[in-house]
């Protein structure tokens, strides 16, 4: 069965390593914080100016002056720090943040990503996504394998305006975990429980490499 949003987040959380600073984008990426594996200490960065972001506040304790990049009210954990936007993107460009997890509308088999604009229909802006993908050491894209129209979001080339080129190395969807090798394309690593390789092949429009037995994810 295909994973739900929490399943995708849970699988991505397995990629976290002790001591990492991590930036989570809006949507599914935000849920990753709920599934940090036992014994792993990470600190979450939100690009509007906080390191050490904690869970949502208790009802009645929300503070208008403490939000995340998705404009949601948050809390600060012990050891947290606050800073301005230039400092925030300084730490992003200088690769102090080890992992960026973000959503996408399209990803290409060369690691290009599109997630900020649908010409003539939706223009919300790139926010910090272009800065993050241009500089991050590791980028994981969290998204559905297909869009609402049932079309694959894993393409040979993005059709939408790009957010970054050749930057995505790993994609976790409701169906699969895939690495990206710009030379060879999407490399299928794991499939969601009960999802067949055939289904993944059918729903991946870009170049897909399937080598040997593809294990099921363990969640």
């Amino acid at each position: 069965m295909a994973l739900d949003k929490n399943g995708i987040a849970r699988r991505i959380a397995q990629e976290l390593r002790h001591g990492w600073y991590v930036n989570l984008g809006i949507g599914i990426p935000t849920l990753v914080a709920n599934y940090i594996p036992e014994g792993i200490d990470v600190e979450f960065q939100s690009e509007n100016g906080i390191l050490g972001m904690g869970p949502f506040p208790f009802d009645g304790e929300e503070d208008a002056d403490l939000i995340n990049a998705g404009k949601q009210t948050i809390t600060a954990l012990a050891g947290a720090s606050l800073f301005d936007s230039a400092t925030s993107f300084g730490m992003i460009r200088a690769r102090k943040v080890q992992l960026t997890v973000l959503g996408a509308m399209e990803v290409s088999d060369r690691g290009d990503i599109a997630n900020w604009k649908i010409p003539g229909r939706m223009v919300k802006g790139m926010g910090g996504a272009m800065d993050l993908v241009a500089s991050a050491e590791r980028i994981i894209v969290a998204m559905q394998h297909s869009n609402r129209e049932g079309e694959s979001k894993l393409l040979s080339a993005c059709s939408l305006p790009l957010t970054g080129v050749g930057c995505v190395k790993k994609v976790v969807t409701d169906l699969a975990v895939l690495d990206i090798d710009p030379e060879r394309g999407f490399i299928l690593r794991e499939r969601a429980p009960g999802v067949s390789v055939d289904e993944i092949v059918a729903k991946t429009a870009g170049r897909l490499v399937v080598e040997g037995e593809i294990p099921e994810m363990t969640l």
Partner: protein, 236 residues
């Protein structure tokens, strides 16, 4: 001490004329200069170019100036929360330049630090790079980006003193410090204005040299855009 105190928001905006370029601090509705925006709407200044990370929401923040068509052009990184904005943009009434958030922050910082331009990797290979000089550093392509040039910067701080020194709270700091540094005329509104000598000099985020006019805001609504909470008794 050089005193920077002015009586109110309206006086603070003296000299802000039609057609000028303004920086407006804040991230979403967090840390926005509410009182200055309200005064600007009252004054009816038109044809403004606003450099601000976001464009407010319908009926609050910069959304108030969009409603009255006082803004000709927005320079922002993310504008997804405002229907009136989207309508004016898609109909062509409003000119919009979208730029990466880190580039926006650095173009403010550069302006306040006397740096005319800088190179950043953000936006390479995208439409943001169109027409820009590209240079390789460490084998990686970077875009040449220029410092902003703003007639006024409107910022909001938590506390300030008569000398114009500012302290921010929480994530309401965001773009406010760099914009304060960058404005040809910088106006700061604060929740609490205190006499000089009250604030610890060690704790100042923006030194008063960057601030030309300061006043205590008459009222703060501090609206929350996405109130997100968890229940006090956690479900098992």
């Amino acid at each position: 001490m050089i005193r920077k105190v002015v009586a109110n928001a309206d006086v603070a905006l003296e000299g802000l004329d039609d057609g000028m370029t303004l920086m407006v601090g804040g991230f979403g509705l967090c840390g926005i200069p509410e009182n200055l925006i309200a005064a600007l709407r009252q004054r009816g200044t038109r044809q403004l170019t606003c450099i601000s990370n976001n464009a407010g929401v319908d009926g609050f923040g910069l959304g108030l100036l969009l409603e009255t068509r006082q803004i000709r052009k927005m320079i922002s990184s993310y504008v997804g929360e405002n229907d009136e904005f989207e309508r004016q943009m898609l109909s062509g009434e409003l000119e919009v330049e979208l730029i990466p958030q880190g580039t926006l922050a650095e173009r403010c910082r550069a302006a306040g630090a006397g740096i005319p331009a800088f190179f950043t990797p953000a936006g390479y290979g995208t439409e943001v790079a169109e027409g820009k000089e590209i240079r390789m550093f460490g084998g990686k392509p970077h875009l040449l980006e220029h410092a902003f040039d703003a007639d006024f910067a409107l910022v909001k701080a938590w506390k300030g003193d008569e000398a114009g020194n500012l302290i921010f709270k929480g994530t309401a700091r965001n773009f406010n410090p760099m914009m304060a540094m960058a404005g040809r005329v910088t106006v700061a509104e604060v929740e609490e204005l205190v006499p000089a000598g009250t604030l610890d000099p060690n704790a100042i985020h923006v030194p008063g040299i960057f601030v030309h006019r300061i006043f205590q805001g008459a009222h703060y609504e501090k609206r929350i855009e996405q109130r997100t909470v968890r229940p006090k008794t956690p479900a098992n």
